[in-house]
């Protein structure tokens, strides 16, 4: 039934709950930070620690940029972790086994990730495959291929050009943080200032209406997956540099953190609503939680239970937010 009926929200003063629902993500970052700070004062209240957390957030945070575009168009990608593993594996093999120039290795990593974006995007936009299934297949295919190519071995020892991306500084700022912010500003620009960004919102908001407005919906979805591939590529690069190589478990389960970050950040699973800064905040929250759980040295089982609960809460919050905005009844 029509959900487009105007439920005019009276312009009364904002209730506290509304403020929380609207800006909850940013408040949560601050609250979580201070909460953890109280628990582990020695580890948390320092510039170094803020820096460490942002560095740790850089991989998930960068992948979450692309995922935000994908979810904004009401699609999904489950294959990010496998795509990163495959891309890094190819890059490392090219540099270590074939002895190619490191810059070529970097190019291979990014290009491979974009290629996987194209693989997913073509299936979804041209063959009209269900995104969940198409990318689930990719999740299996590319992890398997990467394991095959590397013989499931760990390969370490990257040339300085690559490893510096992970451990280098510009002034006193680590390079991954700079990349993270540059990429977020780029994404903000694309989403808010370009025609393409507007189309991303339009396609996710109402695919039928976007079509009637003359937007080439399937091209937009394809381009979104390509762009997403680029961000996955950049994340893979940081990952490769910080790992100083490739390991078999690389990126395993990473889709979980990435999608959680996007949903926590307020991007609606039904598409068309969301913004990129929320995603950054979501990625930081996920990292804070990961860090805290690592410091607490809890068992891996609790780890999953806790993070599962977080994504559940995020989705509940999303539902409340949608209901209040009249998107769903």
């Amino acid at each position: 039934m029509p959900n487009n009926v105007v439920v005019s929200i009276p312009k009364a003063r904002k209730r506290l709950s509304d403020v929380f629902i609207d800006y909850g993500i940013y408040t949560s970052v601050v609250l979580l930070f201070f909460a953890f700070g109280l628990f582990f004062p020695q580890a948390f209240f320092s510039i170094t620690n803020v820096r460490n957390i942002l560095v740790s957030a850089s991989v998930v945070g960068t992948m979450a940029i692309g995922m935000t575009f994908v979810i904004l168009t009401a699609n999904i990608d489950l294959s990010v972790g496998s795509a990163a593993y495959f891309a890094v594996a190819l890059g490392v093999l090219a540099v270590k086994r074939a002895g190619w120039h490191p810059l070529l290795g970097i190019l291979i990593i990014v290009a491979t990730a974009i290629g996987i974006g194209a693989f997913n995007g073509l299936q979804i936009s041209r063959l009209k495959m269900v995104p969940l299934i198409a990318t689930l297949a990719s999740l299996g295919i590319f992890r398997g291929l990467a394991l095959q190519f590397t013989d499931a071995a760990s390969i370490y020892g990257m040339p300085p050009i690559i490893s510096r991306i992970g451990i280098g500084y510009v002034g006193s700022v680590p390079i991954p943080i700079i990349m993270l912010f540059v990429l977020y500003i780029l994404a903000y620009y694309i989403l808010e200032k370009t025609r393409f960004g507007t189309y991303v919102y339009a396609v996710g908001g109402d695919r039928e209406a976007a079509f009637k407005a003359g937007i080439n919906v399937s091209n937009i979805i394809l381009y979104v997956y390509l762009l997403h591939g680029f961000f996955v590529g950049m994340a893979s690069l940081i990952l490769c540099a910080r790992m100083d190589g490739v390991v078999p478990a690389l990126g395993a389960g990473m889709e979980f953190d990435v999608i959680t970050a996007v949903i926590l950040g307020g991007t609606s699973f039904s598409g068309g609503v969301g913004n990129i800064w929320g995603t950054l905040a979501g990625a930081i929250i996920i990292t804070l939680i990961n860090t805290a759980l690592t410091i607490l040295n809890v068992s891996a089982f609790y780890y999953d239970i806790f993070k599962g609960t977080v994504i559940l809460l995020a989705v509940i919050l999303d539902t409340f937010r949608q209901r209040r905005k009249g998107i769903i009844v």
């Binding site: 919102y201 079509f211 009637k212 003359g214």
Partner: protein, 504 residues
């Protein structure tokens, strides 16, 4: 013959089970406001969707300014100068007004960056033109329905368009806003543009249009200058045909017991203050055009929508249904108009579909086992009784014809032994023969004492089947007409507004 600016020649279009357009030829001149009228389902919107590139015709040709054109998608339609204001909003609630207006042609600097200065300047100009006093940065979700419509119109004006299609643009507008809209339309006409104006408000056709084309059952009945016709002729042409022998003879039911009574039922913005009663063995028809609020009344009665006010009595006792399942438990069944989406499980077998809504205790064998034998037996009985044509009870429901699918849905509801059955557009999209069968089933059910509310936007079936007719217009009941006094003209008169609108 190219005195016409737009020519659509011999257009045909069929959907599964329905021939929506049969060899339609529609022509409009430059600088003319061309009205397009017809009952719901007459094919007006389908025809315009073909012009707008939303649908592809099965056959036929389109000429613009003498040039043959092929319109493969809405983008190509825009390129050809066709602006289309759709009946349903095509706005994006979480984008600003300005971005919505220029969604199809955002001003950019060549590299894809939006030129915000130009965007906001031109948006403000257009908003001023349509008389909407809003900051173009406002998100569309914060606008009222009428304001959204003004944005739609501003959007159509943003193109360098030559042909403007307005599909029921005034439904959500107030009088003042309609005046503004008409002023804009007349300006467009003065500029020499072609305007196609679809409306079911006949007085608007007479106020603003130069020419009017009447459609019925996917065909063009007539095209004539507005000055040479009148309201009654238009209505007669819209309604057309004599009543055939499709309908069962209804005997006069006399005064039986009232089974359902509705008092002052209100659900904004759909309808308000709706009151009526339904007797045992009676078929009460509810007629109204799109947006009149018929379906919403039904949904509110069974508790699918939460009512704003009003009371509902079943057998004299007040009832409050908060969910359709409570209505079912009280013996009130509801066949939705969206048969495929809400009424049928297309991927399940026919017999499962029939027994789906049956009460668990009636099919139980022991504590948890389903009595499969009985389940199949029940299904077979209904298949026989309703003459459902299916190779076997194990056939998947999606493979049946529309009419047989509808009978399956009817059977499903009969399993719940309802005393009141509300049917929303039960014959939509099914062929004539199947329609007749549905009418006879409905009539038989009423003869067995069931109270039936029959909702439809097809005037002849309402006249043919109902014992009494309620006519709705924009959320209000404008008339209650007993079967003996009902004529097509009279029902259509009230469905397009009645005295309030037609006062001359």
């Amino acid at each position: 013959m190219s005195t016409y600016f737009l020519e659509m020649r011999n257009i045909s279009k069929s959907f599964p089970g329905v021939q929506a357009l049969k060899n339609v030829t529609f022509c409009a001149r430059k600088g003319e406001i061309h009205g397009l009228v017809g009952e719901n389902g007459a094919g007006k919107t389908t025809l315009m969707n073909i012009l707008g590139g939303v649908l592809q015709p099965d056959s036929g040709e389109i000429f613009i300014d003498g040039q043959k054109v092929v319109i493969r998608n809405p983008h190509e339609a825009q390129q050809l100068g066709i602006a289309f204001i759709h009946q349903e909003p095509t706005l994006f609630p979480f984008l600003s007004i300005a971005r919505n207006i220029f969604i199809s042609n955002l001003p950019t600097n060549g590299r894809g960056r939006i030129d915000f200065a130009v965007l906001y300047k031109r948006s403000s100009e257009l908003l001023k033109l349509v008389g909407l006093d809003k900051d173009p940065r406002t998100l569309v979700k914060d606008l009222t329905l009428a304001e959204k419509q003004m944005v739609e119109i501003a959007k159509a004006l943003s193109f360098e368009s030559k042909i403007f299609v307005l599909d029921e643009p005034t439904s959500p507008l107030t009088d003042k806003e309609v005046e503004d809209l008409f002023r804009i339309i007349r300006d467009l006409k003065a500029r020499g543009e072609t305007i196609i104006y679809i409306s079911h408000r006949l007085n608007e056709i007479f106020e603003i249009c130069d020419t009017v084309t009447v459609m019925r059952d996917g065909e063009v009945v007539d095209t004539m200058p507005v000055s040479q016709t009148n309201r009654f002729e238009l209505i007669r042409k819209m309604v057309g045909r004599e009543l055939s022998m499709m309908f069962p003879k209804r005997k006069n039911t006399g005064k039986t017991r009232v089974v359902l009574e509705v008092q002052g039922l209100t659900k904004e913005p759909y309808f308000r203050n709706v009151s009526f009663s339904l007797r045992e063995g009676e078929i009460l028809g509810i007629f109204g055009l799109v947006g009149a609020g018929r379906s919403e009344v039904a949904r509110t009665i069974v508790g699918d929508y939460k009512r704003d006010g009003g009371r509902i009595f079943l057998d004299g006792k007040e009832v409050v249904f908060t969910h359709p399942k409570e209505a079912i438990a009280h013996g009130v069944g509801f066949l939705t108009e969206d048969r495929r989406g809400e009424g049928l499980a297309p991927e399940m077998e026919v017999y499962k579909n029939i027994t789906m809504a049956m009460f668990w205790h009636k099919l139980r064998d022991g504590i948890i086992r389903l009595d499969l034998k009985r389940e199949r037996k029940v299904a077979e009985e209904y298949i026989k009784e309703l003459r459902i044509v299916t190779p076997s009870i194990y056939h998947l429901a999606k493979n049946l014809s529309g009419g047989n699918q509808q009978k399956v849905v009817v059977a499903k509801w009969l399993c719940t032994t309802p005393r009141v059955l509300i049917m929303d557009e039960p014959t939509r999209g099914i062929d004539v023969g199947a329609k007749a069968e549905i009418y006879h089933i409905v009539s038989d059910l009423a003869d067995q004492g069931m109270g039936i509310i029959f909702i439809s936007s097809e005037i002849e079936e309402i006249l043919g089947i109902s014992d009494r007719i309620l006519v709705m217009y924009e959320g209000e009941i404008t008339a209650e007409i007993p079967r003996e006094e009902a004529t097509q003209e009279r029902v259509m008169y009230y469905a397009t507004g009645g005295e309030k609108v037609h006062a001359e």
